[in-house]
C-alpha cells in the first residue's frame, strides 16, 4: 500500500477572491456574467509514494509546492481530484502557529503539542528533552512574546519533532535558527528517515534535497514536470527552469554588441553538468557572437554562494591576457582548476566588456547556478590548502 496517493489533484483559486472578502464582493460576483478569472495553483497532479521513502519537492517560487503540502496535510480542500495519506500525518509547516504571546514557553509547549495531536502524557514525559533541544531552559517560564524570533522557532520545532507520525511533511523549516540548530534539525529528520517514516521535503536548499532524498518531484506551474533520482531532477531544474525561465534573481544588461549566445558548464570528463566535485576541474565554454569587430574585449566571471555572498571575480585583463580582437562567432573557455569550492549551491556570472571598462557589451549576473559536492567531509565555503605537523615544544 502507498503512503500517499494523489489522483488528478487540482486546486483553483479565484483571482478576485484574494484579499479580505467582503459582502460587496460577494454581491458583485452574483451579478457579474462571464467566466471568472481563475488560477490553478495545482492541477492534474497524480502520483503515489511508497511508505518509507524520503521525497524531495522542488520547483521555483509560486510553483505550487506549498499548496501541494497543504492539500496532503488536509488544511486545503482540493477543487478536483483526491489526495490520500495513510496513517498519521504531521507537518512541520506550522512552526509556532497557535503560540499565544502572553503565555509562557511552558504553557505554549502543552498548547502547541495539543494542536499537533500529541498526548499530554507524552509531553510530560518528554518535557525536559524538549526544553533541552530548544536550548531554552532558563527562559521556559517567560511569556513567548519576549522571545527572540530564533527562540520562538526553536521551541516550536522542538515540540513539533516530538510527533510520531507515519508521514512527515516538511516545508522549508530547515532554514531556521543558526547553523548549529539547523544541524540538530537535520539530524532529527534523518532520525525519522531511519525509523522508516515517509517524508516529503519541500526545500530550496538543493544540496539538502540531494543529500537526503531518495527521489525528487519537480513541480512547475502546478504540474508535475519530472520525477526521478535527485541528481537528475536537480540537474534538469537548474539547467532548464532556473536559468531560462528567469526564476533566479538574474540580471542581464549591456549593449549586445557582443552577445553571450550559449554557455556550457563542463565537468572533468568534458560532459555538460551542473554538479561539480571539489578539487576537480570545471570548464565554462562561453559561446559569443560579435556583431562587429571589437578590439581588446575583456572576458570576466564572478562567483557567489547561493546566498549571494561574493566569493571571487576575475577577468582576462587582470590575468594580463590581451585579446586582440573578436568578430562573428567564437568560443572562450574558462578553466577553474582545481575547483576549491566546498559543497553547496553557487551562482556564476559572466561579462564581456571593453578594455577601459566604459562599455558593457553583455553581462549576465547570477545566470548560471551549479552545485558542488565534496566527499571528504570538510566544512565551509572554500577549500584552503592546509596541513598539520608536530613541532618541538619551545
Amino acid at each position: 500500500m502507498n503512503a500517499i496517493e494523489a489522483q488528478g489533484l487540482g486546486k483553483r483559486y479565484r483571482k478576485a477572491g484574494i484579499g479580505a472578502p467582503t459582502l460587496r464582493d460577494a454581491l458583485k460576483r452574483c451579478f457579474r456574467r462571464g467566466p471568472m478569472e481563475d488560477f490553478w495553483a495545482v492541477r492534474n497532479l497524480s502520483f503515489a509514494i511508497e511508505p518509507g521513502r524520503t521525497i524531495g519537492v522542488i520547483g521555483p517560487n509560486g510553483s505550487g509546492k506549498s499548496s501541494l503540502l497543504g492539500l496532503i496535510a488536509g488544511t486545503i480542500t482540493p477543487t478536483e481530484g483526491t489526495v490520500r495519506a495513510y496513517g498519521r500525518i504531521s507537518s512541520l509547516l506550522e512552526l509556532g502557529a497557535g503560540f499565544h504571546p502572553n503565555l509562557s514557553g511552558r504553557e505554549n509547549v502543552f498548547l502547541n503539542a495539543a494542536i499537533l495531536g500529541i498526548q499530554r502524557a507524552d509531553v510530560l514525559k518528554r518535557f525536559d528533552a524538549i526544553v533541552e533541544f530548544a536550548g531554552l531552559r532558563e527562559f521556559i517560564d517567560m511569556p513567548v512574546k519576549h522571545y527572540s524570533s530564533g527562540m520562538y522557532v526553536r521551541l516550536a520545532f522542538a515540540v513539533a519533532v516530538e510527533m510520531n507520525p507515519d508521514v512527515l511533511l516538511v516545508d522549508e523549516v530547515l532554514a531556521v535558527g543558526d547553523t548549529a540548530f539547523q544541524n540538530k534539525c537535520l539530524n532529527r529528520i534523518l532520525d525519522f528517515k531511519r525509523r522508516g517514516k515517509t517524508i516529503l521535503l519541500v526545500s530550496h536548499a538543493l544540496e539538502t534535497v540531494e543529500q537526503f532524498c531518495d527521489e525528487v518531484l519537480l513541480i512547475n506551474k502546478g504540474q508535475l514536470v519530472r520525477r526521478g533520482p535527485p541528481g537528475e531532477v536537480i540537474f534538469e531544474y537548474l539547467h532548464t527552469l532556473l536559468a531560462h525561465v528567469g526564476m533566479l534573481n538574474v540580471e542581464e544588461y549591456g549593449t549586445h554588441e557582443v552577445e553571450i549566445r550559449k554557455v556550457r558548464l563542463l565537468d572533468r570528463a568534458g560532459q555538460e553538468s551542473v554538479r561539480f566535485t571539489t578539487g576537480e576541474p570545471m570548464y565554462v565554454d562561453v559561446h559569443y557572437h560579435a556583431q562587429r569587430r571589437i578590439e581588446n574585449p575583456v572576458f570576466g566571471f564572478s562567483l557567489k554562494t547561493g546566498n549571494g555572498i561574493y566569493l571571487f571575480g576575475s577577468n582576462t585583463q587582470l590575468l594580463n591576457q590581451r585579446i586582440a580582437a573578436i568578430e562573428g562567432d567564437g568560443v572562450m573557455r574558462l578553466t577553474i582548476n582545481p575547483l576549491t569550492l566546498m559543497a553547496g549551491r553557487f551562482l556564476l556570472s559572466l561579462a564581456i566588456h571593453s578594455w577601459d571598462h566604459s562599455v558593457q557589451y553583455h553581462r549576465q549576473e547570477d545566470c548560471y547556478p551549479f552545485l558542488v559536492q565534496d566527499d571528504r567531509g570538510h566544512h565551509g565555503i572554500v577549500q584552503l590548502q592546509s596541513a598539520w605537523e608536530a613541532r618541538p615544544a619551545p
Binding site: P21, T22, G70, A73, L93, E94, A114, I115, G117
Partner: protein, 267 residues
C-alpha cells in the same frame, strides 16, 4: 453526531484552546479573573442606577431580575464576540494545521461557559441575599439551572458557529453583529422583566408572539423563573421560541461543515 465524535476525540485540544483563551485574556491584568465577575456586576449596577433615576417611582424593577438578565446576556455576548474572531483571529492556525475546524468556535464557547459559571458562583448568593432582603427566598427550582445552562450553551454555540463562519466569508459581519447586538439587547428582557412589555402586548398581541420567539427572551425569563419563582411563560409562541433553535441546529451544522472547507483559502 459526527461533530460529537470528533469533539470527543479532540477533547484535550478543545480544553487547551479554551484555557489559552481564558489565560491569555487576563494574563497581564492585576485583577485577572476577577474581571469576569466585576464587569457584568458593574454593568448591572449602572442599569439599576439609571433605570431608577430615569424611570421614577412608577417603575417596578427588581434588582435580582436585572442581575440575572445582565449575567445571562453577557454569556451570549461573549460567545458571539469571541466566536466571531475564532477563525479570523487564528488564521495562521487554520491555514497551517489540520484539526477539526469546529473546535475553534467550540473552544470560544467553552471559555465563555467557564466564565459564566464563575459569574454564577457570585450571582447565586447575591440573588439569594436580594430575595431574602425583600422577604422571599431562592426557589428550589434553582437546582434545575444546569439543564437551562446546557440549553443556553447549545444556543450560543449555534450562534458562534454561524457568526464565526460568516465572518470568514464576509468581514462585514463584525460590523453587522455590533449593530445586531445593540438591537437585540433592547428586544430581549435583559434590563427589564417580561412584565415591562405588558402594555405593548395588550395593544398588539402578534408583536408579543414575535417577542416570545426570540430564544433569549425565553432563556432569560427561564433563568428568572428558576431562581426567583416568577411564573413560567408557556404560550405557544414561547414554546416555539424554545424549540426552533433545536430544529435550526441541523441546518447550522450542515452549513458550517460546507463552509469550513474553504476557510484556508479565504483567511
Amino acid at each position: 453526531m459526527q461533530a460529537l465524535i470528533t469533539t470527543w476525540r479532540h477533547r484535550e485540544l478543545l480544553w487547551n484552546l479554551a484555557s489559552r483563551d481564558l489565560k491569555g485574556r487576563y494574563k497581564d491584568s492585576v485583577l485577572g479573573l476577577l474581571w469576569t465577575v466585576l464587569a457584568p456586576l458593574f454593568m448591572a449596577a449602572i442599569y439599576i442606577f439609571f433605570l431608577r433615576l430615569l424611570g421614577g417611582r412608577g417603575l417596578q424593577i427588581s434588582m435580582a431580575d436585572i442581575i440575572i438578565g445582565v449575567f445571562a446576556w453577557q454569556f451570549t455576548v461573549q460567545c458571539v464576540t469571541s466566536g466571531m474572531a475564532a477563525f479570523t483571529g487564528n488564521a495562521n492556525l487554520v491555514k497551517k494545521v489540520f484539526f477539526p475546524r469546529i473546535l475553534l468556535p467550540m473552544s470560544a464557547v467553552l471559555a465563555a461557559l467557564v466564565n459564566f459559571l464563575l459569574m454564577l458562583v457570585v450571582q447565586l448568593p447575591l440573588i439569594a441575599f436580594l430575595l431574602w432582603h425583600s422577604g422571599g427566598m431562592l426557589s428550589v427550582w434553582t437546582l434545575a439551572l444546569p439543564v437551562l445552562i446546557v440549553y443556553h450553551t447549545f444556543f450560543n454555540l449555534l450562534l458562534a458557529l454561524a457568526i464565526s463562519a460568516a465572518n470568514v466569508y464576509f468581514r462585514d459581519t463584525q460590523h453587522l453583529v455590533g449593530l445586531g447586538l445593540s438591537a437585540w439587547f433592547f428586544v430581549s428582557p435583559v434590563m427589564y422583566p417580561l412584565a415591562f412589555i405588558h402594555d405593548l402586548a395588550q395593544k398588539w398581541p402578534w408583536l408579543e408572539n414575535l417577542y416570545q420567539l426570540n430564544p433569549l427572551t425565553v432563556i432569560i425569563t427561564g433563568y428568572r423563573t428558576l431562581q426567583t419563582g416568577a411564573p413560567l411563560v408557556l404560550t405557544p409562541a414561547a414554546i416555539a421560541g424554545w424549540l426552533w433553535p433545536l430544529a435550526a441546529a441541523a441546518l447550522v451544522f450542515w452549513l458550517f461543515d460546507r463552509a469550513q472547507r474553504n476557510f484556508a483559502d479565504l483567511l
